[in-house]
């Protein structure tokens, strides 16, 4: 069996990290960077909280489209039947961090990276709005299943969506062009 070394030798004879090991290392470092940049309270208050309130507002608006009488109180979507508090962890940022770290760590031209970041952000937030509205209605009709739906089902769906989106972007937009068929 071939040993799975994390390094390889470049044409000049120097040892360097294999591309996939370099990707994973950059990916983890970028995640740590995103966390360090947004976790401290001043950054959280200045950036994450308003962002979460914005996400909640869009979620409340979307629930309103289904005829629900919703009103917003900060990050809380409230109706006469149920209330959902959109907190850090349900604002889609965790998936965006993973997707952004993947795109930025992947060797690709910057134009394609920027395209990926913008498209991925929109797609993830769109799915997140679906998550918020569906959780709101699960809370209305099946409150006993709210926690499981929130913690197990929807978190898995949103994260796997982010991972799938990254893999698709990496394959479709970031892979070197294949040689034309003869």
């Amino acid at each position: 069996m071939k040993s799975a070394s994390t390094t390889e030798t470049d044409p000049a004879g120097r040892k360097r990290l294999r591309p996939e090991a370099a990707f994973l290392l950059k990916f983890v470092l970028l995640l740590l960077l995103f966390f360090a940049a947004t976790a401290p309270k001043p950054m959280n208050d200045a950036f994450v909280e308003p962002f979460t309130a914005g996400v909640a507002k869009v979620g409340g608006f979307a629930a309103g489209l289904f005829g629900e009488e919703t009103r917003m109180e900060g990050t809380v979507i409230r109706s006469p039947r149920f209330a959902v508090n959109v907190r850090t962890g349900c604002n889609g940022l965790e998936t965006i961090y993973i997707f952004f770290a993947g795109v930025l760590a992947f060797p690709a031209p910057w134009g394609r990276k920027l395209l990926g970041l913008a498209g991925g952000f929109l797609a993830i937030q769109l799915l997140n709005v679906v998550r918020i509205v569906s959780l709101f209605y699960i809370g209305v009709y099946f409150p006993q299943h709210f926690e499981d739906s929130h913690i197990v089902v929807w978190q898995a769906i949103v994260i796997l969506f982010g991972v799938a989106l990254f893999l698709l972007w990496a394959d479709r937009y970031a892979r070197p062009d294949r040689p034309a068929a003869p």
């Binding site: 913690i151 197990v152 898995a156 394959d171 892979r175």
Partner: protein, 205 residues
């Protein structure tokens, strides 16, 4: 931009929704409770190993981690929290593994998968331990303030927050990536190309 998706990726993406459904079903029907109980037991061992006086007892009851300290008053309320936010990321790893087509699997796949589960368990133990320490450091009133210096409170709370926000979602992806063929495939491709060149140059010579 390519017109066609890599066929292996196409298969993975096509399988992913079904794999996710299967993983979620498996979590609720079979795996969730025993796995969370295992993480709770392992965390208790880990926490007690680090304690000078062994006081922490963790019990897994009805999906909750119940934290019992031998030195807490029996009149105090017993703290407890849900285990799923720390252990349910197993669903992500299961879904990704179920969706992985055979030709994307690395050599020694079974060993790598076992290592991925072990590594995930280790990170969950770390996460749960941070959660228990954060509870001690911040939620037990005057005792917390008197016993835990400010910097220690910050360290354990930051550790827990990291896993809550990013860590628990990212680790299954990283451990899954380590079970894939990506690197080996490229290397094998290069090797084949090189041996092909050698064969051709021998033929010319």
């Amino acid at each position: 931009m390519h017109d066609r998706i890599d066929p292996r990726l196409r298969r993975l993406l096509a399988r992913l929704p079904l794999a996710a459904g299967l993983a979620i079903l498996l979590w609720f029907a079979l795996v969730g409770r025993p796995w969370s109980a295992l993480v709770t037991r392992a965390s208790e061992g880990w926490i007690r190993a680090a304690e000078r006086t062994k006081v922490t007892r963790l019990a897994f009851e009805d999906g909750m981690v119940v934290v019992q300290r031998a030195d807490l008053s029996s009149r105090s309320e017993t703290p407890a929290f849900s285990a799923a936010p720390m252990t349910a990321n197993l669903v992500l790893l299961l879904a990704l593994l179920f969706a992985t087509p055979r030709d994307l699997r690395a050599p020694a796949y079974a060993a790598r998968v076992a290592a991925a589960f072990a590594a995930l368990l280790l990170t969950q133990v770390l996460h749960l331990s941070f959660a228990v320490q954060t509870l001690y450091a911040t939620q037990l009133g005057a005792w917390s303030v008197a016993t835990w210096p400010r910097w220690q409170r910050e360290v354990v709370a930051t550790g827990r927050y990291f896993f809550d926000i990013v860590g628990k979602f990212a680790v299954p992806f990283v451990f899954w990536a380590l079970t894939l063929r990506i690197g080996e495939d490229a290397e094998a491709g290069k090797g084949n190309a090189a041996s092909g060149k050698r064969r051709r140059s021998k033929g010319k010579g």
